[in-house]
């Protein structure tokens, strides 16, 4: 039977593969929803990796995609701790991370904020005015966030967090 540590590393390796795909696809002419799907999966698996390492049973993680908004800020905060980031910068980055993590989590079609946020990076949806929307030509809030200075830093911090688990 695999140990919690083995499960954790396994999730982290899959997270790294998703993030590698995100970075590779950024240079391609593809709809942004395809890239964002990779980012959403990378963050979800990173969150589950830390939960596995902490003793959560993998079977208990299968039924939900809603872990990123809660766990990613804690994981990023740890990276900021181990890097001894200046408190002011760490504070700003954490506030940004909480906003970004929630938007990343909402990319999953199963996370829709009680119907208020049906936008997702996989399936078409009907918006509140009855209009059919497609992920391939939708502009997601997270896209703008990632263009900000802290957005680029957040992506590096996510990569650092994954590397610390996978080596």
């Amino acid at each position: 039977m695999p140990t919690p540590s083995e499960w954790s590393v396994a999730y982290a390796i899959q997270s790294r593969a998703d993030l590698d795909a995100w970075e590779l696809l950024r240079g391609q002419k593809l709809p942004n929803c395809e890239l964002l799907h990779c980012l959403q999966m990378a963050c979800e698996k990173l969150s589950k990796s830390y939960l596995c390492a902490s003793g959560t049973l993998p079977a208990n993680l299968q039924s939900s995609h809603a872990y990123t908004a809660k766990q990613l800020p804690l994981i990023v905060r740890h990276v900021l701790d181990i890097e001894n980031a200046r408190p002011g910068l760490a504070r700003d980055l954490l506030q940004f991370t909480k906003r970004a993590a929630r938007e990343i989590e909402l990319l999953s079609p199963s996370v829709e904020d009680d119907g208020r946020r049906p936008d997702n990076c996989e399936y078409p949806w009907e918006d509140t005015s009855g209009r059919l929307r497609l992920p391939v030509n939708y502009s997601f809030p997270i896209e703008q966030l990632l263009q900000e200075r802290h957005g680029r830093t957040l992506l590096k911090l996510i990569r650092t967090a994954i590397t610390r688990l996978t080596g």
Partner: protein, 121 residues
């Protein structure tokens, strides 16, 4: 992660004592998370100095998701030489913990509070 990205602070003194390490990390988290209103120490019945210290952080800026402990390795760069476990909950969840309707796992119990003013000494 290169130093140029995060511009690290100057290195603090290392604290070998587990209780001091818990206070050191709590200080750091109070400082960088304005939403944290209280931090408590949790301990199990058979905890030793080799076990991680556990912090229950009450944060109004987090999501209510129950008790989801996350373990982290030491952070020597901020003087913390012990591994830690962080349990982050909302103020409403703290009421449920105190009322017993949101139980802590592994026989953990609250053994003390790390006050912001104490942590900032």
């Amino acid at each position: 992660m290169s130093a140029a990205i995060l511009e690290p602070s100057s290195s603090p003194a290392l604290v070998p004592n587990k209780a001091d390490a818990a206070s050191r990390l709590a200080l750091r988290h109070y400082e960088i998370e304005p939403g944290i209103s209280a931090i408590y120490r949790l301990e199990g019945s058979t905890e030793s100095d080799l076990d991680p210290f556990i912090l229950l952080e009450v944060n109004r800026d987090t999501i209510a998701a129950g008790i989801m402990p996350l373990g982290f390795p030491p952070a020597p760069a901020i003087g913390v030489l012990h591994p830690s476990i962080i349990v982050e909950i909302t103020p409403e969840e703290l009421f449920r913990v105190q009322a017993g309707s949101l139980p802590l796992p592994n026989g953990w119990r609250i053994t003390g509070q790390i006050h912001r003013r104490v942590a900032e000494l």
